[in-house]
């Protein structure tokens, strides 16, 4: 049953009694063509595109908790494609194009709001670096505008332009960036996959892989073994833990990224603004809360919470960039686990075990990648060859030297 304006009016007039659950709650079958491990944003979008683009519907998505209970519920909902390197930028631009058509495509209101993203610069050198990045974005068709101080003043008059240490000289603006409603993205993909026949199985934790003669033939779960021709792992944040069950060590550390939201305020921040000195970024949700965050805590952890030191750092950076934030009251803070890879870029690849595929290493940027990650992973699972925009996301790129190191900080996951 589809959503439409007519339907909403009709339901409104008839007591909203016609709405039905958005997806089934099926028992796992003994065998599937493809089993996706992980029912978060990326796992659900993979299942959706497997069914929608590649016609493979004998698919199960296994989720250890409830649907979309991990990082897709814990991010800061930013959508953008302002990367620079050739291995990354076409992928993220492909993702942004999918975002732009997503709501029509899966008939669900994901509250996609392209209010723009601006990265501030504070020195001549930083301006030059941003001009270069903007040119790289143009090459990928992403579009970018290099704004001077007056341009930023028109966009965000509330910033602290004349900070004696870090004056704002301008910013790189991607008008097509913005935010989307994170939960609705997961729900829309889940509903779209379910309607095409995908089984979404919650409360079903994978406890092992059955590997015979170098081939993965089944997963062991808390609800019994499930055989599959192909198994796609998609559990960023817990990748190390899950792939260890297949005997693999990964170029990944699990770390925590904190985020914060204030009480609801009247509209003040247009789109997303990021600070160019201390790490700080902020947007305003449709409910009015200021949503912001900063750096990683910077150590290995599987606890979904961080330490006070980072809270201090983030708030200090926020006060430096826009002192008026000092009048807002923080309602909540939380932490999400992120797969920090050794060059800050993700993986969508086969493993050395036949029939076992890996998607992870999304660092702190997985949300914006949700559509393209699912699309490219579905492409790989369906055709056994990488999608053209995800060719660089190989697990062996450290061995071959083909790193994608946007921040140029080397194999130090907490610095990316």
């Amino acid at each position: 049953m589809g959503f439409s304006a007519f339907r909403i009016i009709k339901e409104g007039l008839t007591g909203n009694r016609g709405w039905t659950p958005h997806w089934r709650d099926p028992e796992p079958k003994a065998q599937y063509d493809i089993v996706i491990v992980g029912g978060g944003g990326h796992g659900l979008s993979t299942a959706y595109y497997l069914a929608r683009e590649f016609g493979i519907t004998n698919v199960a998505v296994l989720e250890k908790g409830w649907l979309a209970s991990g990082n897709v519920a814990r991010n800061t909902t930013i959508v953008r494609s302002n990367y620079m390197l050739p291995g990354n930028e076409p992928f993220y631009e492909f993702s942004l194009k999918l975002w732009e058509g997503l709501e029509q495509d899966f008939n669900y209101n994901a509250m996609m709001s392209q209010r723009g993203i601006v990265n501030l610069y504070h020195s001549d050198g930083q301006r030059d670096a941003f001009a270069r990045r903007g040119n790289a974005m143009h090459l990928a068709g992403a579009g970018a505008v290099l704004l001077d101080r007056d341009g930023i003043r028109q966009l965000c008059p509330f910033l602290n332009f004349d900070n004696s240490r870090f004056p704002i000289h301008g910013g790189l603006w991607q008008p097509r960036g913005g935010t989307a409603r994170h939960d609705a993205v997961a729900w829309g993909y889940a509903r779209g996959a379910d309607r095409r026949g995908v089984d979404i199985i919650q409360n079903c934790e994978v406890t092992g892989f059955r590997i015979e003669n170098g081939r993965c033939i089944a997963v062991e779960t808390t609800r019994g073994p499930i055989r599959a021709k192909k198994v796609g792992v998609c559990v960023a944040g817990s990748s190390g833990r899950v792939m260890a069950m297949a005997g693999m060590r990964l170029p990944i550390e699990s770390q925590v990224l904190q985020a914060f939201v204030t009480e609801g305020l009247k509209p003040i921040i247009p789109g997303v603004v990021t600070f160019g000195v201390g790490h700080f970024y902020i947007s305003q949700s449709d409910k009015g809360g200021l949503v912001f965050g900063g750096d990683l805590d910077g150590y290995n952890t599987y606890a979904q919470r961080g330490n006070l030191q980072l809270v201090n750092d983030v708030i200090e950076a926020g006060m430096t960039m826009m002192p008026m934030i000092g009048r807002a009251r923080v309602l909540r803070s939380w932490g999400g686990l992120v797969d920090m890879s050794m060059d800050g870029s993700p993986f969508i690849d086969r493993t050395h075990i036949d029939g076992l595929y890996f998607n992870g290493g999304w660092c702190y940027g997985g949300f914006k990648a949700t559509p393209a990650s699912g699309f490219c992973y579905a492409h790989l699972l369906a055709k056994d060859e990488p999608h053209s925009v995800a060719r660089a996301y190989r697990l062996d790129r450290y061995r071959t030297g083909a790193l994608i190191d946007e921040e140029a900080t080397g194999p130090n996951p907490n610095l990316h």
């Binding site: 550390e253 910077g298 150590y299 290995n300 599987y302 030191q309 194999p411 130090n412 907490n414």
Partner: protein, 95 residues
């Protein structure tokens, strides 16, 4: 987090910077036949355990010593703190 420094007593983790898994002390032999393969694993691959983890912390805003901290990555509880120097020496590594 409070790190109980073997020389200086309890110190706030904010005084430290973090490097990663303490296996980085075990630098492989660059002259070995398979050095490229072994160095790839050494530089890039991690156990990344959920539970007890031995890791290197640098007391940047303190005495600038390297510590090997044994910490639970599920609870952040620290069970042991050693000077990395002592650990390296006990493993037969020079300084």
């Amino acid at each position: 987090m409070i790190i109980n420094h073997p020389l200086l007593g309890p110190r706030d983790a904010a005084e430290f910077t973090y490097l990663g898994d303490a296996c980085l002390i075990e630098r492989p032999d660059p002259e070995a036949e398979n050095a490229i393969e072994v160095f790839h694993d050494y530089v890039y691959l991690r156990d990344n355990p959920a539970g007890e983890h031995r890791e290197l912390w640098f007391h940047e805003h303190g005495d600038r010593s390297w510590l090997v901290v044994t910490r639970n990555t599920l609870t952040h509880e620290i069970s042991k703190v050693e000077l990395a120097r002592d650990v390296a020496l006990s493993r037969g590594r020079g300084i």
